[in-house]
């Protein structure tokens, strides 16, 4: 099965060609990454069929590092979970590559863009195909790196480079958790191989406790929590979600591929992959569920009032990722992955479609300057509508099946689960509201488009609309693969497919089909109510929102300002102690780069750097003095300790 090692390597080859020869190939450079990614898609499909036929691949290609008795292999593992991820990643990546041909046309960084995109795909594929933690880490770091490079793709724009820095800093915090978890795994189990680690978690080897902050904590819980910290960074969950909305500064295809369909779901994938570890720790599972549910609601409330079309979708992504974690946290791993799959299609669709809108409006992203576009860009409107229905969870669109399975699992799991279910339903209401608010503001009502822009409004070329239509098709149909048992017994093909991986997952009681059906109807009604409310607010009587805003001015502003989280972060880290130092910093160095630091933690670090530079006076005798002082201190220390 060595040929499957080519799955990541083909995009990589595309990256090399586009990167090294892009200068000469100009816009032809795009074809190599596309060929690579499509090739990877075909191979993935073949692998998927293999897995479907019952062949699970877990092979070591060669020994990468061997240190004493400890060794790490470079290996691939294609089981059910990986097969699903492979299909999602390669399909989306292929479509988005093709779409970008049209979207990026004429951009001066054209070859570079495709090189980055192919490189990203390579790392994402490494991440999902890894058979041990270290290879997974390779992918994990790699996608983060590409994300950073792609967010700051237009660094002529200061906000883009700021956003890149923010994403960088936040993700580093998450990665720190991931790395520590990996090290703990080495220290505890002496191996990083998935199979071996998961086999060992139930044995006495794992009976280690660490005392932390005065309490005892089992090593499995500690590992799970650290891994989850990594996941919250990568998948933009509370409290590390702040980077994702800003990451929308990148080109729209990037937002679609990285910040909606693939990279941000890496955290979900990783938690699902480590299900054997998580399942052993109730604390960790509850943490995952609670963080997921809270994020789902929290991000949805912010999404209600955003005016930037991409930001609305970004907050909805955070919210939907929250649903996925909610599913994982209540033990419904396959439901979480199912939602990941459907979400990848409809959210990818929404991003690309919004890209098409932005393309049509010559770069305008503010919904207050849109409206009445539905007749001008018909295809885009149609697919946008389909995507929104899927996102809102309307039967029989894709989002309905996956979201409902998660909510049902939550309801069924425990008392805590019922509370989380309430949160989830509230989130679903808001999701329906803001996604249709988006539709109505953008496509319906009166036109608020600037006059110069209005003349140029045009439908996107075929190379962009065809991928949109393909995604729209999937957004309608993909949900059917996970038909809940309550509607058609034993038709949940997706759940059965993944079932061998999650034997420990809690299965909903079979006899409560009636209740499940009732809850389904309820949540669809809730979503419809949300749509209806959006309709009356933004189409029928557009005065209502204004009145509400007046009445709840404080709440509205709070939401509009994203709960002032950025401000609070800034307040703590920037305006507090380090404020003055930050000013010094500002005046000394390159404003562009330094402004990037003025975001929380980074500012403090930057200040230390500037303060530290003052030691570097350039006077040789002061250097010698530092040496002498160091000597005196060290000798003194030696005495004290001796």
């Amino acid at each position: 099965m060595l040929k499957y090692a080519l799955i990541p390597l083909l995009p990589f080859a595309g990256f090399l060609i586009a990167g090294l020869f892009g200068k000469y190939l100009k816009e032809k450079a795009a074809w190599f990454p596309i060929a690579g990614v499509v090739g990877a898609f075909l191979l993935s499909f073949s692998a998927f069929l293999d897995v479907l036929g019952g062949t699970v691949i877990d092979e070591n290609l060669y020994s990468w590092i061997s240190i004493g008795s400890f060794s790490v292999n470079v290996g691939i593992q294609i089981d059910q979970l990986t097969a699903v991820m492979l299909m999602v990643v390669t399909t989306l990546s292929s479509l988005i590559h093709i779409y970008s041909v049209g979207y990026m046309h004429g951009d001066k960084g054209y070859p570079r863009f495709f090189a980055y995109l192919a490189l990203f795909t390579f790392f994402m594929l490494v991440l999902v195909m890894a058979n041990n933690f270290l290879v997974m880490f390779v992918g994990w770091e790699g996608v983060g790196l590409c994300s950073y490079l792609l967010i700051g793709f237009w660094y002529e724009k200061k906000s883009a480079s700021d956003a890149g820095v923010k994403a960088f800093v936040v993700n580093r915090v998450g990665d720190f958790g991931f790395v520590l978890a990996v090290l703990l795994i080495i220290a505890t189990f002496g191996t990083l191989d998935f199979t071996e680690v998961f086999a060992a978690v139930n044995t006495p080897v794992a009976d280690v406790t660490y005392s932390l902050f005065g309490g005892e904590i089992a090593v499995v819980t500690l590992i799970a929590l650290l891994l989850f910290l990594g996941a919250t960074g990568k998948s933009a969950q509370l409290p590390l979600y702040v980077w994702l909305p800003d990451a929308m500064e990148g080109p729209t295809p990037v937002s679609a591929l990285i910040h909606a369909a693939t990279m941000v779901t890496a955290g979900v994938f990783m938690v699902a992959r480590c299900a054997p570890i998580f399942s052993l720790s109730e604390v960790a599972m509850n943490t995952v569920a609670i963080v997921g549910a809270l994020t789902a609601v929290f991000a949805a409330t912010i999404g209600l009032v955003q005016n930037d079309i991409k930001r609305v979708i970004a907050y909805s992504t955070i919210s939907q990722l929250g649903y996925m974690f909610l599913g994982l946290g209540v033990g419904a791993f396959s439901a979480g992955i199912f939602h990941l799959t459907t979400h990848a299609f409809f959210k990818g669709l929404l991003f690309l479609a919004s890209g098409s809108v932005i393309h049509a409006l010559s770069g305008e992203q503010d919904m207050r300057k849109m409206g009445a576009l539905k007749s001008k860009i018909k295809i885009t409107h149609a697919v946008f509508f389909i995507g929104s229905l899927a996102l809102a969870g309307i039967f029989p669109f894709a989002g309905f099946f996956s979201k409902d399975e998660i909510l049902w699992s939550a309801y069924n799991s425990s008392d805590l689960g019922r509370v989380l279910w309430v949160l989830g339903v509230a989130g679903a209401f808001m999701t329906a509201f803001y996604s249709f608010r988006l539709i109505y503001l953008t496509f319906w009502g009166k036109s608020r488009v600037d006059h110069e822009v209005a003349h140029h409004v045009h439908e996107s070329p075929k190379v962009m609309t065809v991928p949109l239509m393909i995604l729209a098709f999937f957004s309608i149909t993909i949900g059917l693969i996970g038909m809940p048992g309550a509607l058609i017994p034993h038709a949940n093909w997706f759940g059965n497919f993944l079932a061998p991986l999650f034997p420990h997952a809690e299965h909903a009681a079979a006899e409560s089909h009636g209740l499940e059906r009732m809850l389904m109807v309820f949540s669809v009604l809730v979503a419809l109510a949300g749509i209806r409310m959006a309709y009356s607010f933004y189409v029928k009587s557009t005065a209502i929102p204004g009145k509400i805003v007046e009445k709840f001015q404080g709440t509205y502003n709070l939401l509009l300002n994203k709960y002032k989280v950025d401000e609070i972060y800034n307040y703590i880290f920037v305006d507090g102690l380090v404020h003055k130092l930050a000013k010094v910093l500002h005046s000394i160095g390159d404003v562009k780069i330094i402004d990037g630091f003025i975001n929380g933690l980074a500012a403090a670090i930057g200040n230390t750097s500037v303060q530290g530079k003052k030691f570097q006076t350039g006077y040789v005798q002061q250097y010698a003095f530092a040496m002498g002082a160091g000597m005196v201190v060290l000798v003194g220390l030696y005495y004290v300790l001796k």
């Binding site: 990167g19 990468w64 790196l145 960088f168 790395v179 090290l183 080495i186 002061q622 040496m627 001796k642």
Partner: protein, 478 residues
């Protein structure tokens, strides 16, 4: 105690003799024919011969030559590393100096002699060879640093390095005298035994003074202040030499000298090294963040890298020698590669050390930019490069000894460090920048860079055989 040198002893000294002979031959060569290319070829031949002679050198765990020099597998490994690094430096120097005018030939003579000094350090087991090795290295470096006589920066860097290195030598010397007073011997083995048992105040102070001096050579906090200035002022290939050969040889010596001592957890030496390591990691990375000068960024980054490397000194167990051996190899390849790019981009008038020199490099010279990116990512410890494996090895050695504090500090610092490497990479791939390519890259420069890049990827993607080699070499060393 054998007092005279036997024939087998002479055989064991083969690499040293060849290096000395090479210096003589090059000197005579210059006398007969003052030609840049000719001198470089002679130098390279000498280094290759020295490296080749390692195959015939009878390394053995107890191959002492008069208690002053121990030619074992440990020394052999570091000799090979030093010779290889010097080979790359000479290749890069050729491309750097070819565009400079004047008499350039003595430069290579000093490089050869400095390598000899470094080689002596790697094999030293006695204060006499220790001190002389370090002095040959330093005195050659005074000359090399100030080589660009017409540039104020170069001369200033030379004078700073001169004063501080001389002071640090004086510290080392005074420390040696104190250690000698208490132990009554200058052999490492005896000192280690005494230090492990009941070291008195004289011995302790002596060791601290030696740490100060070695800390200067390694550029660790608080003895690091010279590093950015000298890195910036010295000619780019010399900076590469200081960063690799000089520091590598000194670290080999540190391993030899302190490695045999019982550095107990919680003991004074342990704490001192921990403080130095942690301070170096943080200082280096934090100060690099705001730098606009690429050579200074690399200087600060080297400070933090030595901080990382000190973890191996504190770790217990057999892994640490392997870890440091691999780390240094990866660090050599990476550092030489980075400075190689700086070297080939330098012009007759100035070194390419401004961030702006690299802006948009990817569009002018995609291959060179690719090499540069790979090297920077390796410095940052990104997977698929040698730097990642090296750092992983370090961390593995660290958690093997439960040095959680150091390991966590190391990870936090890698995170900070990545930022400034990415900043340079960002500049390389930005769309603005000076237009048009300047002069072509010389053959020797591109050959060296190509070789280093291959080595980087080989060590990063398929390090198995190399790790096994290190494992077998270091096993006999202990």
């Amino acid at each position: 105690m054998n007092t005279a040198i036997s024939i087998s002893g002479l055989k064991a000294l083969l690499p040293f003799l060849i290096m000395t002979a090479a210096a003589m031959v090059v000197m005579l060569g210059i006398a007969f024919r003052r030609d840049h290319r000719f001198t470089v070829l002679l130098t390279l031949a000498g280094l290759a011969l020295g490296g080749g002679s390692l195959v015939f050198t009878p390394f053995a765990p107890d191959r002492y030559v008069t208690t002053l020099v121990l030619v074992d597998a440990f020394a052999g490994y570091y000799l090979a590393l030093l010779f290889a690094a010097a080979f790359a430096v000479v290749c890069l120097s050729y491309s750097y100096l070819e565009i400079q005018g004047g008499h350039r030939e003595e430069y290579y003579l000093l490089v050869l002699l400095a390598v000899l000094g470094a080689a002596v350090l790697a094999a030293a087991t006695h204060f006499a060879s220790f001190f002389l090795g370090i002095e040959i290295l330093s005195v050659s470096l005074y000359g090399l640093t100030a080589y660009q006589r017409h540039r104020d920066q170069s001369v200033e860097a030379g004078v700073k390095y001169l004063i501080l290195a001389a002071v640090s030598s004086a510290f080392i010397l005074f420390g040696m005298a104190l250690v000698y007073a208490e132990v009554g011997s200058m052999e490492f083995a005896r000192i280690a035994i005494r230090a492990g048992a009941a070291g008195g105040a004289l011995l302790g102070t002596g060791l601290v003074l030696i740490i100060v001096g070695l800390g200067f050579k390694l550029a660790v906090v608080p003895f690091h202040l010279w590093t950015p200035d000298v890195y910036e002022g010295a000619p780019a290939p010399v900076t590469a030499f200081i960063a690799t050969v000089s520091k590598g040889a000194v670290f080999a010596l540190v391993l030899r000298f302190f490695g045999n001592m019982d550095i107990r957890v919680g003991g004074a030496l342990f704490l001192i090294f921990t403080i130095i390591a942690v301070a170096s990691m943080f200082f280096g990375n934090l100060l690099a963040l705001m730098q606009q000068n690429v050579k200074r960024v690399l200087a600060y980054s080297s400070i933090s890298h030595i901080g990382y490397l000190l973890v191996t000194l504190l770790a217990a167990g057999p892994l640490r020698l392997n870890a440091s051996a691999f780390y240094l190899a990866a660090y050599f390849v990476t550092t030489l590669g980075v400075f190689g790019v700086v070297t080939v981009l330098s012009t007759r008038d100035r070194d390419a050390d401004k961030l702006d020199d690299y802006r948009g490099l990817a569009w002018r010279r995609p291959w060179l930019a690719g090499v540069f990116t790979a090297m920077l990512l390796s410095l940052a410890g990104i997977p698929l490069t040698a730097g990642f494996i090296a750092k992983f090895y370090l961390v593995a050695a660290g958690i093997g000894s439960a040095l959680w504090l150091l390991v966590i500090v190391l990870i936090v610092n890698s995170a900070i460090g990545l930022f400034y490497y990415l900043r340079i990479i960002g500049a390389v791939y930005s769309m603005d920048g000076p237009p048009g390519p300047s002069m072509p890259i010389s053959l020797s420069g591109s050959a060296a860079l190509g070789g280093l890049t291959l080595a980087l990827l080989w060590l990063g993607i398929y390090p198995g055989p190399f790790l096994a080699l290190i494992g077998s070499l270091m096993q006999t060393a202990h």
